[in-house]
């Protein structure tokens, strides 16, 4: 019975999103309930993590249907880690959205949908059934459509149209791939597919299927030729919303890619080469895009793309060392990218704009906040000993030993350009003198807020920054965790045995 604990994160979020619907117009109550809900979810996530750490991979059969026939939920270390990270990011963003999002938006059931989004994310991380994964993806995207378009401003709607089209299209391609794989193997349980796909003779159809999956997840995670929707839409909604999108939505695509690559198409040379080429192009397009932008939130959007490339490339190399790097980078990236967009929101609150040309002198007027932001930006670049540095060691070593010099070069280039971009942000936003600000009278600046409101703005950023620092200074813990996950992923037989119980 105790393995049922892995479904509790789902139940918590479902419960709280339903509770929130009863307080549709009472924004104050909603704010309190959502923070309580996220604390409960964090507690449950920690419990799940500890349980999985002690007991290893465990499986829940929905409705007690035996594995290949029913839907299974599989809690392995990767899922448990991602659920924990989702809970941490979810809690921080909920605190931030309580203060930063105006009541007019909250009145349209913002928090209820927010919990549905987290529900979908947790479900996608846990499920062991491909069609179920599709359904969780749909829950994620439909909640994200609501979150991105709630408020209905001009920019938002424009971004929402682009975001909607590409994501819906990606889902349809995913569904096509599902149809093909069901036709090939006659099953949808991931472990069962992994076993049966080895008996399929038609290698060309398997490659086609793999490319369809790759296309679907590449759209979700903004890999090179399919990435243009991300910078076109992520800067339009309120910062809290883009923070949760940046931290978790693209990473769900990466997670799905990792699962598919390690479980269903392992050692598929064709797919590995495609991933390596795509990763180089993704890093280049993302990093060069980031250099020329002036809007801080757009810069961050392009950096998301750049760093997705790091992970995809490590997946393309496909050995234990590279996978360790990928997992470590994923852990670091979720926390840092969420935090970056929260910082974007904070800068907007300080200066009423996110255009770098119009901002300056932040270091002079807010030295403490600047130092806080400095930690996050340096973690992003990977200045040793902060968090971005450690996963790159694994990625460098593995790409060097497997002679993937193009990817190695792209890694160095991507890291270097990230450094340039951060230096640019630092000199423009923090060191430059403040240019003339066009101030609208209705805008409430950070100084005018009550101290408690100021703390609400800063607390989530501090929380995530502390976690980044922990990843940096406690790197050996994270490294051993990543190694364990990578071993599990590389030897997928454990996963298959746990699900199918031979």
């Amino acid at each position: 019975m105790s393995e049922n604990i892995i479904t509790y994160p789902l139940i918590v979020h479902l419960f709280f999103s339903i509770i929130l619907m009863f307080f549709w117009n009472k924004v104050k109550v909603q704010k309190i309930v959502t923070i309580i809900g996220n604390f409960v979810a964090l507690g449950v996530a920690i419990a799940v993590f500890i349980f999985t750490w002690k007991n290893g991979t465990h499986v829940v059969n929905a409705g007690n249907w035996e594995a290949p026939f029913g839907i299974v939920f599989v809690g392995d270390m990767l899922s448990a880690t991602l659920i924990l990270l989702t809970a941490i990011a979810g809690l921080s963003v909920s605190i931030f959205s309580v203060i930063s999002i105006i009541n007019a938006r909250l009145r349209f059931g913002f928090f209820s949908v927010y919990h549905f989004l987290l529900l979908g994310l947790n479900g996608a991380f846990l499920t062991g059934d491909m069609f179920n994964l599709y359904v969780w993806f749909e829950i994620i995207i439909i909640s994200s459509f609501v979150l991105i378009s709630i408020g209905g401003e001009k920019n938002q709607l424009e971004g929402a149209v682009k975001y909607f089209t590409l994501n819906f299209f990606g889902s349809l391609i995913f569904l096509t791939a599902l149809g093909v794989i069901y036709g090939l193997t006659g099953t949808l349980n991931m472990a069962d597919v992994a076993v049966k796909i080895q008996q399929v003779d038609n290698q060309i159809l398997i490659d086609v299927c793999a490319v369809l999956f790759l296309t679907a997840f590449a759209i979700k995670s903004a890999v090179f030729p399919l990435n243009f929707w991300l910078p076109a839409s992520y800067h339009t909604p309120p910062s809290a919303v883009s923070a949760i999108f940046a931290g978790l939505l693209t990473k769900v695509g990466v997670y799905a890619l990792i699962r598919m690559m390690t479980l269903i198409f392992p050692h598929d040379v064709f797919l590995m080469n495609v991933l390596l080429v795509l990763s180089v192009l993704t890093i280049i397009s993302g990093s060069f895009g980031a250099i020329i932008q002036n809007n801080i939130r757009k810069v961050f959007s392009f950096l998301i793309i750049c760093h997705i490339g790091f992970m995809i490339g490590g997946l393309g190399i496909f050995n234990v060392l590279a996978l360790t790097g990928v997992i470590f980078y994923l852990i670091h990236d979720i926390i840092v990218k969420t935090n970056l967009f929260l910082i974007g929101g904070l800068i907007y609150r300080l200066k009423s704009t996110t255009n770098m040309k119009n901002i300056g002198g932040l270091y002079k007027s807010y030295p403490k906040i600047s130092l806080l932001l400095l930690i996050v930006l340096f973690s992003l670049v990977g200045v040793p000993p902060l968090s971005g540095f450690w996963p790159k060691i694994s990625l460098f070593l593995s790409s060097y030993s497997t002679e993937n010099y193009w990817y190695l070069g792209a890694l160095i280039l991507g890291s270097f350009i990230t450094l340039i971009v951060v230096a640019k942000i630092w000199s423009e936003v923090f060191w430059k003198n403040q240019p003339e600000l066009k101030v609208s009278k209705r805008f409430i600046f950070f100084d005018k807020l009550y101290p408690i409101q100021k703390w609400q703005f800063v607390t989530p950023i501090v929380l995530l920054a502390l976690f980044s620092l922990y990843i940096g200074f406690g790197a050996e813990h994270i490294q051993s965790l990543s190694e364990r996950i990578a071993e599990d992923l590389y030897n997928s037989q454990n996963y298959i045995d746990a699900v199918l119980k031979p």
């Binding site: 749909e138 995207i141 459509f145 149209v161 909607f164 349809l172 569904l175 599902l178 069901y182 002036n294």
Partner: protein, 117 residues
């Protein structure tokens, strides 16, 4: 029957893709709907079509003795129809709202975001 469905699927995919590539925002929605129907048909087709043999066996028998129709693709299609119905409803509202606010239905005109940065 299979060959007819295969051609039909291809036509729906092609028509859907073509419509998605058009500039009008309404045609975009139509394209997505067509594409979605093509996907449903594909799943139906790849689940192997068996005519007139529902997967119901008499109480005496313990095992399937004949080739029966597979119920899973139909369940999958049902789920995906419901999901895409919801998404399409959302899409139509979104497009209507976008048309009202942006005052254009030309996708090439949706580029104000690129300029203001």
């Amino acid at each position: 029957m299979e060959i007819l469905l295969a051609i039909m699927t291809g036509v729906l995919y092609a028509a859907g893709t073509y419509m998605i590539l058009r500039r009008s925002i309404v045609k975009l929605i139509i394209g997505i709907i067509l594409f979605g129907n093509g996907v449903n048909l594909l799943i139906f087709l790849l689940g192997r079509i068996t005519k007139g043999n529902p997967p119901i066996i008499s109480p005496e028998l313990k095992h399937f003795t004949d080739i029966y129709a597979d119920p899973i693709p139909q369940a999958l299609i049902l789920t995906s129809i419901v999901i895409s119905f919801g998404l399409q409803a959302f899409a139509i509202i979104l497009v209507k709202r976008a048309y009202k606010v942006l005052k254009t239905d030309d996708l090439d005109m949706l580029n104000t975001l690129d300029e203001d940065s």
